[in-house]
């Protein structure tokens, strides 16, 4: 009697395990839901706002798409801990700094094999999501171009009849404003490396420089062009076109000072246009300044396919569905960015339409593993330059040394 009991229990346990295993195998073949992680954009801030956009896809495929809205604060942390804990998304939005690292770690699946099988629209910015010829990401939000705003009333007060278009003209206008007792310009030099999108990258590209070598294995900003960009910044600071206070300002400070009519110029995103346009002054827009080129920064946040996606074709179909003109039209009602596909309607402020038509003006950050560490060290060193602790040459040389080391570590 004593011997039969364990045998019976063992047999029962084995049966239950086999049944469970069979059931599990059955479930694997049919995906019932996908997890989609997105950040808030514009006035599009709740997961429920995606429900009407996704409804047709859910109905067609008989699945649920669970949208999780990840706040911008600690965005990278949420992804890292979520994916490590096995709770990450099947499809998610990442920016270039993240994509490089996740791609290098093998956490992303290229779309190439699956896109031809999808009803993919005619994308305008697919190249922004490519690494070594592979389509690692599909841009969802391409916009936020960095431009130069001006307060025409303050320029008139200083006797400036024509707004500047080049670096030299900008320096001259800045000196005129300073001499007239008007704050010429402000930049935010306190905070996250994201401030370099406003403060440095456009100048680097306008000087003809690059952030990385073509293969992404080393930094390229420590070049004559990079030094020219850093020297331009230092000239702005040294000639008091930018005040001493810029080292303590965050973007909110700069934006509110400009919106209140206290500053003549502001480098910032096109997304601020409605706020500034509502200000009590005549708003002007220069777009990118001209150095050697007129290039500027543009954000290119993209959808990626995570390794854990249970059905990669289905996940790719979800991506092409979301990025199709009809769905994007609904999205752009609350988040007015320029279209990402040919034939889609332009709904962003009209003043930028002509500028966005010139795609050669814009650069996104390249997808490079280890780039976050590079931007961190670049910010620290440029801050030290703005404090007067380092020359432009020293700042870029030190940033390049640390940056190259970080790239080597990340790409080993």
């Amino acid at each position: 009697m004593k011997r039969t009991r364990p045998i019976v229990l063992g047999a029962a346990l084995t049966s239950v395990t086999l049944v469970a295993a069979c059931a599990g195998a059955g479930e694997d073949t049919e995906v019932s839901s996908l997890d989609l992680w997105l950040p808030p954009h514009g006035d599009f801030s709740n997961a429920s706002e995606w429900d009407p956009i996704l409804a047709a896809f859910e109905e067609e495929h008989g699945i649920d798409v669970n949208v999780r809205m990840i706040p911008w604060e600690n965005y990278e942390e949420a992804y890292l801990t979520g994916i490590t804990g096995g709770e990450g998304p099947d499809v998610g939005l990442m920016y270039a700094e993240m994509i490089g690292d996740y791609h290098a770690q093998g956490a992303l699946v290229p779309f190439d094999e699956y896109l031809p099988n999808s009803d993919a629209p005619d994308y305008l910015y697919l190249d922004q999501g490519q690494v070594d010829g592979e389509q690692i990401a599909v841009p969802l939000v391409v916009g936020g171009a960095r431009v130069l705003y001006y307060n025409a009333d303050l320029l008139a007060q200083a006797g400036i009849e024509e707004p500047p278009g080049t670096w030299d003209e900008f320096l001259e206008a800045g000196r005129q404003l300073r001499d007239a007792g008007i704050t010429p310009a402000e930049q935010a030099w306190s905070g996250h490396p994201g401030i370099l999108n406003d403060n440095f990258y456009p100048m680097l590209w306008q000087a003809g420089g690059e952030l990385f070598t073509e293969d992404g294995s080393a930094t390229a900003f420590n070049s004559p062009e990079g030094v020219a960009a850093a020297e331009f910044l230092w000239e702005l600071r040294d000639s008091e076109i930018l005040s001493e206070a810029v080292t303590s300002l965050v973007q909110g400070d700069v934006q509110s000072n400009f919106a209140n009519g206290q500053t003549a110029f502001m480098f910032g995103s096109d997304a601020h246009f409605p706020t500034f346009d509502a200000g009590d002054f005549e708003l002007g827009l220069i777009g990118p300044l001209e150095g050697e080129t007129r290039e500027t920064f543009i954000a290119a946040d993209a959808l990626v396919l995570l390794e854990q996606c249970p059905d990669r074709q289905l996940c790719t179909d979800l991506v092409t569905y979301i990025t199709s003109p009809d769905q994007m039209a609904e999205f752009h009602e609350l988040a007015p960015y320029p279209p990402i596909t040919a034939g889609a309607e332009y709904v962003a402020p009209q003043i930028f339409e002509e500028m966005y038509a010139q795609s050669d003006l814009f650069n996104g950050l390249p997808i490079v593993a280890g780039s976050s560490a590079v931007y961190n060290t670049l910010l620290t060193n440029l801050q030290q330059m703005m404090l007067g602790e380092k020359t432009p040459e020293q700042a870029l040389a030190d940033a390049a040394t640390s940056g190259d080391q970080a790239l080597e570590t990340a790409q080993q």
């Binding site: 990278e76 942390e77 890292l80 994916i83 490590t84 690292d101 996740y102 770690q105 093998g106 956490a107 030099w189 306190s190 905070g191 996250h192 005040s243 001493e244 206070a245 810029v246 080292t247 303590s248 300002l249 965050v250 400070d253 280890g370 976050s372 560490a373 961190n376 910010l379 620290t380 060193n381 801050q383 030290q384 703005m386 404090l387 602790e389 640390s402 970080a406 570590t409 990340a410 080993q412």
Partner: protein, 315 residues
């Protein structure tokens, strides 16, 4: 329950003489008692093991690996620790954390002690209660809110602090825009935030000092200052140790206030040890290296806590 406190009846042991010590049989019961104690402790032990011991052990292991969280950890031996020795960024973070601690801990300890003494000896009324409550509000306020408010107050061109200083002819100071002043200011805001907490601890300690001592010293002609130095300060020695050690540990762990006020800038001038760990682990995705940094922090905090125990156990 098996637990019992019943003493074992004395029974004669065969072979033992009547005059000799009677050998009892306490061993089984003692074991039972210790096992029952273990049962009571087990929930706490499990929690401690899961949320403290295991993470420390895992961190110690990861500190010996090259690990990015997304891939498998690769054994690297002591390489991360070797790299730390030559890492100027890490040394800068260590130094700045030390400076921050040296500014904030003595100041918050002395101020909390003095204010608590004034309230306990001179203001045991509603006004004293109001001061205690007012000073405790920053303790419960969120660091991010505190950071934002102080950023506003310390604004270079239109901040309240510079406006007040301007009234007495002092030019604008770029408080958060210079590395040196930024670190000092962050330490002072920490003092402002912590003072209410330590004040309450001191105040509670002062209520335990017998009033007779003060009355007797008054009869002997001792004034308030003399009483403070000769009665209050010596009586509160264990409390002071606690306050200093707690303050030191908190200082070494500072992160959110610095993050909210300066983000580690300008020029890395306010990057603290925990901020360096965060940046290395979550932004640069070097979890193994960040774990090595965390182990250094662990050793520092452990040594501080150990020192506290040794000093407090001395008579």
């Amino acid at each position: 329950m098996r637990a019992t406190t019943t003493t074992v009846a004395s029974e004669p042991i065969p072979g033992a003489t009547d005059s000799g010590p009677v050998q009892q049989r306490p061993r089984a019961n003692t074991r039972r008692r210790s096992f029952s104690g273990l049962g009571y402790l087990m929930p706490s032990l499990i929690v401690l093991a899961v949320v403290i011991v295991a993470p420390i052990g895992m961190s110690a292991y990861f500190s010996l690996t090259d690990y990015s969280l997304l891939g498998e950890p690769q054994w690297a031996g002591l390489q991360n620790y070797g790299d730390l020795l030559s890492d100027t960024g890490f040394r800068q973070a260590m130094w700045q954390t030390f400076v921050y601690t040296v500014i904030s801990v003595p100041l918050q300890t002395v101020l909390a002690l003095v204010i608590a003494a004034v309230i306990a000896r001179r203001l045991r009324n509603r006004f004293g209660g109001f001061i205690r409550s007012a000073l405790f509000i920053p303790v419960i306020a969120a660091m991010v809110i505190i950071g934002s408010v102080w950023r506003y107050l310390l604004g270079t061109e239109d901040g309240l602090v510079n406006s007040i200083l301007g009234l007495v002819g002092i030019n604008n100071v770029n408080w958060l825009g210079e590395a040196t002043t930024a670190l000092i200011v962050v330490a002072l805001v920490t003092v402002w935030k912590n003072i209410g907490y330590f004040l309450v601890i001191y105040y509670a300690g002062m209520l335990d000092i017998p009033e007779d001592l003060y009355e007797a010293s008054s009869i002997d002609g001792a004034g308030g200052v003399r009483q403070f130095w000769s009665i209050t300060v010596p009586s509160l020695r264990p409390v002071t140790f606690l306050v200093v050690i707690l303050g030191t540990i908190w200082s070494f762990q500072v992160f959110d206030l610095v993050y909210a006020m300066t983000g580690g800038g300008p020029g890395g001038g306010t990057v603290t040890l925990v901020m360096a760990i965060y940046n290395t682990g979550f932004e640069n995705m070097q979890m193994g290296y960040a774990s090595a940094m965390a182990m250094v922090l662990f050793v520092i905090v452990f040594l501080v806590s150990f020192t506290q125990r040794v000093l407090l156990s001395r008579k």
